[in-house]
Amino acid sequence: MNDRMPHLWRLAPLVLIAALAVAWQLPEASWLRLAAPDAAVADRMTATLDSIGEEPRVLVGFDPDIGTYAETRPTVRTLLADLLAREARLAFVSLTAEGRALGSAELARFGREEANPTRLLDLGFIPGAEAGLVDLTRGVRLPDEGDGAFAREVNAAGIGAFDAVLVIGGNDLGPRSWIEQVAPRIGEIPFVAVTPTVLLPEVQPYLASGALRAVLGTPRDGAAYRETLDLGNLGRLTDPSEPRPLPLLIGMLVAVAALGQALGARAIGYLRASRSREAG
């Protein structure tokens, strides 16, 4: 029996994945909510978007990380759809290759979902990391196909044409780089961000100091923000399916059990050692 145990333990990840898959297929449980009960963070984002006026021009620094984009993707798509519902015009720019790849994919998705193309501008990839960001504050290079009214405004006023900056973080050049390189060089325009949880300690001080007006940095805050919106027809631009809380709960319980098992084994070992010392 004991000889089989190592082989059975090797199947544990498969069992976990199967359990998560089954849980994902189950109907939503009304007693489980992903959204944070305190919607203060979501309200702060909404209030900031409300404050930037009608038909705002928003510069979107799109540099998520391929590995963690799935965490922020539903919130990013909802936020972009929310901005479009506010008649915003969005100019996308990326400073990393991964950000450019994901930005291209999202713009292609906007095309498939028939988003208004006159409200979208693809500024492409800017090389040079921090130097590229500084270059962006001195002049915005337009793509060859950028000949609409929005493109002409950006061409005339450069980065001064924008009413707000939205940074989709996750990669090396996230909100911190934008705050350090762009914010001191341009006027007082609001910076908001969506980041994966791993960047939260990095962006929290900027939120506290007011350099960032609003940040959606955890899945629960993102879910709370998504819950507050009614995008109507533009709901087609959001993620097709919301993350389901039941598989997440099961995964958390398994993780806690695994950590608890390790701690329990150490505690038992410690007790046995102390007993044997007493007996000796």
Partner: protein, 214 residues
Amino acid sequence: MTGFFGTSTADLVATWVAAVVTLVVLGALLGERRLFGWTQHLLAGLATGFLALIVLTELIGPRLVQPILADPSSRPELWVGLALVATAAASPWLPRQVSVIPVSIAIGALAAFALGGAVIGTLLPQIDAAIVRPGGSAATTLGGALAVAVTGLVLIGFLHGVPRGRVLSTAAGAGRWLLIGGIGGWLGFLIFSRLILLVDRIAFLLGDWLGLVP
């Protein structure tokens, strides 16, 4: 459902390729490491290839070569840039004293921008924000004082090998426990966010690939 894939043949092929690669990566959990290693190489190769492609098509082509070809004499700085690109590309065959020039310029410029930005954009505003203002609420003041106390205790916890008395030892112990507590809380956050990534992959397999969910 990720929403990345449409209904065209190319999208269908992309979905299948993504599903197979996802299964190979998940197969590493069962001990299948060879295929997993190949997918890592595939990812590294694709990322490098994509970076090279966008640098060629969005930088070197339109912003360096094309302006030079259009009017070779009007932009002398571009010739310097072209020489640096050529030097970087030929670095394996050039003397070290020459090949380090473009790398040194790149590192020096990035370090200068990063340092200046860190001071102007982060350090000074954060120091300014940390100063307790007379008009602030009691809760803000208390929160700031608590943050200072925790930061101080954790910093003291890093004092190793320094002669210290009972008070300092107690403070260092408290600092280490606060650090462990912070790391524990952070681990919980990260487990939750990583679970979302795993569940998203399962949702992709069930929804985008197998079509089991509308």
